[in-house]
C-alpha cells in the first residue's frame, strides 16, 4: 500500500484525475445492477419527467429513468468499446510482433492483407460487415476489433522492427530461443510503452465509432441503453432549456479527456524525456 501511495504521488496531477475518472467508470460498468435505482428498460412514469427526488435526472422519451440508463449505458458503451479494443490489441499486437520477428514472406503476407483492409474506408467496411453478420453485441465487437487491429498491427510491427535488429535480440536468437520467448520477453517489454499509449487513443476512437454506428442504427440496439443513442432520442428536450440529454454526451467527453490525460502521461514516460 505504501509503495502504491508513493508511486501514486509521483504521477502528474492530470493523470491522477484521469485514473480516478476511469476507475469510477469501471466501477459503474461492474456494479451497474446494484448502483442503478431502476431497471435499464423499465417504463416507470410519463415521458420527460423533470428532475425529482424519485427520478434524480428525470425520465426519457419513453418514461424510463435517465440516471439508471446512464449507468447501464456505461456497461454497453464502455464495455463493448473495452472488449473490442482489447481484442484488437490482442490480434494486431500479436501479429505485428510476429511479422517483425519472423520477417520475410509472413511479414509481406500479413502486411499486404492489412493494407487491403485499410484501403477500404472503415465506416463503409463496418456497415457492410454488420449488414452481413447482423447487429448483435458479439458481431459488433468482432467487426470493430478486426478493423482496429490493422492499425495496431502497423504500430506494433514498426516499433518492434527497430527492436528486432538490436544486439540483445540477436543474442537471444543465438542462444536458441524460440519465437514466443523472443516476442514475449525480449521485444514486448521494449514496445509496451507506445502500445499502452496507443491503447488509450484507440479506445477513444472505438468509443466514438460505436456512437456513430448507433446513430446509424447499426450499433447497440434498443431497448439497451447507449450513450450515443440516448443523446439522439432525447435531443428535443434541449429546445426547452433542459440539459438532461447532454449528460450522456458529457459522460463520453469526460471519459475521452480522462483517457487522454493518462495517455499523455504514458507517452511522456515512454519517450524517456526528463521534465
Amino acid at each position: 500500500m505504501q509503495k502504491f501511495l508513493s508511486s501514486w504521488w509521483g504521477i502528474p496531477l492530470s493523470a491522477q484525475f484521469g485514473l480516478l475518472v476511469i476507475t469510477v467508470y469501471l466501477l459503474l460498468v461492474a456494479l451497474a445492477p446494484w448502483l442503478a435505482p431502476f431497471g435499464e428498460t423499465e417504463i416507470l412514469a410519463n415521458a420527460y419527467e423533470p428532475w425529482s427526488s424519485t427520478y434524480w435526472l428525470g425520465t426519457d422519451s419513453l418514461g424510463r429513468d435517465m440516471l439508471s440508463r446512464i449507468i447501464y449505458g456505461a456497461r454497453n458503451t464502455v464495455g463493448i468499446a473495452l472488449i473490442a479494443t482489447l481484442l484488437a490489441f490482442l490480434i494486431g499486437g500479436l501479429l505485428g510482433l510476429l511479422a517483425a520477428t519472423v520477417g520475410g514472406v509472413l511479414d509481406q503476407l500479413l502486411s499486404r492483407m492489412v493494407d487491403v483492409i485499410m484501403a477500404i474506408p472503415s465506416l463503409i467496411f463496418a456497415l457492410l460487415m454488420l449488414t452481413i453478420v447482423g447487429t448483435s453485441a458479439t458481431s459488433l465487437v468482432l467487426v470493430i476489433a478486426l478493423l482496429d487491429s490493422t492499425k495496431v498491427f502497423r504500430l506494433a510491427r514498426s516499433v518492434a522492427q527497430s527492436i528486432v535488429v538490436m544486439d540483445f535480440v540477436e543474442a537471444a536468437r543465438l542462444r536458441g530461443e524460440g519465437r514466443w520467448y523472443l516476442m514475449r520477453h525480449e521485444i514486448l517489454p521494449n514496445v509496451s510503452a507506445p502500445l499502452i499509449a496507443e491503447f488509450g487513443l484507440r479506445f477513444c476512437f472505438v468509443f466514438l465509432f460505436i456512437s456513430t454506428l448507433s446513430f446509424l442504427g447499426l450499433g447497440t440496439q434498443p431497448p439497451a441503453a447507449d450513450w450515443g443513442s440516448m443523446v439522439r432520442d432525447n435531443a428535443t428536450l434541449i429546445s426547452f432549456g433542459d440539459i438532461t440529454p447532454l449528460l450522456p454526451a458529457l459522460a463520453i467527453a469526460l471519459l475521452t479527456v480522462a483517457i487522454n490525460f493518462v495517455v499523455d502521461w504514458k507517452l511522456h514516460a515512454a519517450s524517456g524525456l526528463k521534465d
Binding site: M166, D167, F168, E170, A171, A172, R173, L174, R175, G176, E177, H185, E186, P189, N190, K274
Partner: protein, 541 residues
C-alpha cells in the same frame, strides 16, 4: 596572463545525480596561451569533457557552473549572457566532437554545413565560404577537395568526417578550438591521418586548442603541455616532454598500465584444435562482393587468439560466420572434431551453448527492460535447467566472478550501470552458458584505459580458472600484445598471417603488419613527425 586566450580559475561544475547536487569538477585552474595546444587527459568521469564544454561557457543538461571564472579574452564566460556567448561560439571558439558521424546533420551536404556559421555571423558570402571550404579540405588532405564537400555525411568514412568537422570548426578562423576525443572512435591507421591533419592546420592558423583524450600516446603527439585530471581534480601539469620522461604522481604512472600489462605464460597442446575455419568465403548478398575470401584459421584449446585488422578487414564478419549469423557461402567449420552447420538455426543446443559471443556495444547487447537477474538467469534456465533458488544462487556466483557485488546489482537494470559494468554483465551472460569458446568482438574498444585493463585482467583470470578459449577481435594492438597467444592479421577479407604473438611483434614483419604496428602511437613526442617523414621517404622511392 596578458597573452592568455583562456584563463580558468577555480572552476567548479555541479551536476544533479539522483536528485542531489554534487560536484563533478572541483576547482580547476587552467591557462592557455594564444596558439598553444593543451592536452587534457584522464579516464572517463575525470571531468575532461565538462571542462572542455565549460571553456565555451556551456554545460550539459543537468549540470551548472557553480563557482569560478572562465576568462576568454577579457570576457567572463561563467557570467556572460547567452547572447554574448552565442556571438563567440562558432566564430571565436569552436568545438570538434568525438563522433563526427553523429554530429553532422545527415540531410545536408557537408559544404552547406560548413558555410552555416560564417553566413549566419555575416563573415562571408556563400561563394567565398565555399571556396574557403575547398581550400581547407585540401589542407586537411581530404581526397578530391573540390568535390568532397558536395557529398552527404554518410558518403564519407569516419576519418574523413572527422577532418571535415575540423574544417567546419576552422571556418570562422577561431582563436580557440576544443577537440573532444576526435580520434578515439577511429582505428590506428586512420587515426594517424587525422592527427597529422589536425596538427598541421592548428599550427598553420596559430589556433589555441584544448585537446581532450584518454590516450597518452596521442596527446604526446599533439600537445605542448599536458594537464592530467582525475575525478574532477587536477593531478599534475607540465610540458609534454617532461611529463612523458618523468611523471611525478602515482596516478599518472598508472595511465601507462595497460601498455605494460603482461600476460602469464600458459601451457597448452598445439595439436588440440578446438575450432578450425577451412577456406571460408562469405558475402552479404548472394552474388555480392566477397567480404571473406578463403579464410582459414585454427584455434588451439585454452589459447587466446586475436584477430586484428583495420575497419573493413572482415574481422567482425569472421565472428558472425563463426556464430552462424551469416551463412558462409563456401568452406567448413569444424568444432571439437564435428563439422558445424553454417546457419545457427540448424545447430543443436549444446553447440550454441559452447560457442558464446560477447558484443562490442554492451549498451545494445543487454535488454534494457530486464534486470540482471533475468538477463543472467535465462541462459541458466535455458541451457542448464536451473530454477528458483538454485538459479538465483548461481546468478549471484556469476556476478561475483565478474567482480560485481550480487546484493547491489541483482535487481538493477542495464541503464543503471556504467559502461565497464555493462561489459562485465555481458561477460557473465556468456559464462552462464558454461561455454568452451567465447568470441569477444571488440569488447574493450568502447571503454577507457583503466576499465579496459580491468576487463582484460578479468578475462585472463577466467581463462585460467575455467580453461576457456577466446577469439578476441580487436583493432587495438596494445590489447593484442597484452592478451593474445596467437594472432591472425586480416586485410580486405583475407588472412595475411597467423603466428604467435612473440613472432608477430618481432621482425621480420609482413608488409601490412608492419604498417599496422608502426601506426600505434608511441609515447615519444617526436614519433608522429618521424613516422610521417619515413613514410614520405618510402613513397618517394
Amino acid at each position: 596572463m596578458l597573452d592568455n586566450i583562456l584563463t580558468i580559475r577555480g572552476l567548479k561544475i555541479t551536476a544533479k545525480i539522483d536528485g542531489i547536487d554534487s560536484d563533478i569538477v572541483h576547482g580547476i585552474d587552467l591557462d592557455l596561451k594564444r596558439g598553444e595546444i593543451l592536452g587534457l587527459i584522464g579516464e572517463s568521469g575525470a571531468g575532461k569533457s565538462s571542462i572542455g564544454l565549460a571553456a565555451m561557457g556551456f554545460t550539459r543538461n543537468g549540470c551548472k557552473i557553480s563557482a569560478g571564472e572562465i576568462d576568454f579574452d577579457g570576457l567572463d564566460l561563467a557570467r556572460a549572457t547567452e547572447k554574448q556567448k552565442q556571438n563567440l561560439r562558432g566564430v571565436r571558439i569552436a568545438y570538434v566532437a568525438q563522433s563526427a558521424a553523429a554530429s553532422f546533420n545527415p540531410a545536408h551536404r557537408l559544404i552547406d554545413q560548413y558555410a552555416e556559421a560564417p553566413l549566419s555571423h555575416g563573415l562571408s558570402n556563400a561563394l567565398e565560404s565555399k571556396q574557403e571550404a575547398i581550400e581547407l579540405y585540401r589542407k586537411l588532405q581530404l581526397p578530391t577537395p573540390e568535390e568532397i564537400g558536395f557529398r552527404y555525411p554518410h558518403q564519407l568514412s569516419g576519418g574523413q568526417l572527422q577532418r571535415a568537422m575540423t574544417a567546419m570548426a576552422m571556418s570562422c578562423k577561431p582563436d580557440l578550438i576544443i577537440f573532444d576525443e576526435p580520434t578515439t572512435a577511429l582505428d590506428v591507421t586512420t587515426q594517424i591521418e587525422v592527427l597529422s591533419a589536425i596538427r598541421d592546420i592548428v599550427r598553420e592558423y596559430k589556433t589555441a586548442a584544448l585537446y581532450i583524450t584518454h590516450d597518452l600516446a596521442v596527446v604526446a603527439q599533439m600537445a605542448d603541455r599536458i594537464q592530467v585530471l582525475k575525478d574532477g581534480r587536477a593531478v599534475e601539469m607540465s610540458e609534454t616532454s617532461k611529463m612523458l620522461a618523468a611523471p611525478q604522481e602515482d596516478y599518472t604512472k598508472t595511465l601507462w598500465a595497460v601498455r605494460n600489462f603482461q600476460r602469464r605464460e600458459k601451457a597448452f597442446d598445439p595439436k588440440d584444435i578446438i575450432l578450425s575455419l577451412n577456406n571460408i568465403d562469405a558475402s552479404y548478398e548472394r552474388h555480392g562482393p566477397k567480404i571473406l575470401n578463403d579464410v582459414s584459421i585454427r584455434v588451439v584449446r585454452g589459447q587466446t587468439l586475436a584477430v586484428v585488422g583495420e575497419s573493413g578487414s572482415g574481422k567482425s564478419t569472421t565472428a558472425r560466420v563463426l556464430c552462424g549469423l551469416l551463412e558462409a557461402s563456401k568452406g567448413e567449420l569444424v568444432f571439437n572434431g564435428d563439422v558445424l552447420p553454417l546457419n545457427y538455426r540448424k545447430r543443436d543446443k549444446s553447440t550454441l551453448k559452447n560457442l558464446q559471443l560477447i558484443y562490442q556495444m554492451a549498451d545494445t547487447a543487454l535488454n534494457p527492460r530486464q534486470t540482471l537477474l533475468q538477463i543472467l538467469g535465462r541462459p541458466l534456465e535455458f541451457y542448464l535447467g536451473l530454477k528458483g533458488e538454485e538459479k538465483n544462487a548461481r546468478v549471484a556466483q556469476l556476478l561475483e566472478q565478474v567482480e560485481l557485488e550480487p546484493k547491489r546489482f541483482l535487481n538493477r537494470y542495464p541503464g543503471e550501470l556504467s559502461g565497464g559494468q555493462k561489459q562485465r554483465v555481458s561477460i557473465a551472460r556468456a559464462l552462464a552458458a558454461e561455454p568452451e569458446l567465447i568470441i569477444c568482438d571488440e569488447i574493450t574498444s568502447a571503454l577507457d584505459q583503466a576499465v579496459n585493463e580491468s576487463i582484460l585482467n578479468l578475462l585472463n583470470r577466467l581463462q585460467e580458472d575455467l580453461n576457456l578459449t577466446y577469439i578476441f577481435i580487436t583493432h587495438d594492438l596494445a590489447t593484442v600484445r597484452a592478451i593474445a597467444d596467437e594472432v591472425v592479421v586480416m586485410w580486405q577479407g583475407k588472412v595475411l598471417e597467423q603466428s604467435t604473438t612473440e613472432a608477430l611483434f618481432s621482425p621480420p614483419y609482413h608488409e601490412y603488419t608492419e604498417r599496422l604496428l608502426s601506426s600505434v602511437p608511441q609515447m615519444d613526442p617526436q614519433w608522429l613527425d618521424e613516422l610521417l617523414l619515413q613514410r614520405a621517404k618510402a613513397e618517394a622511392i
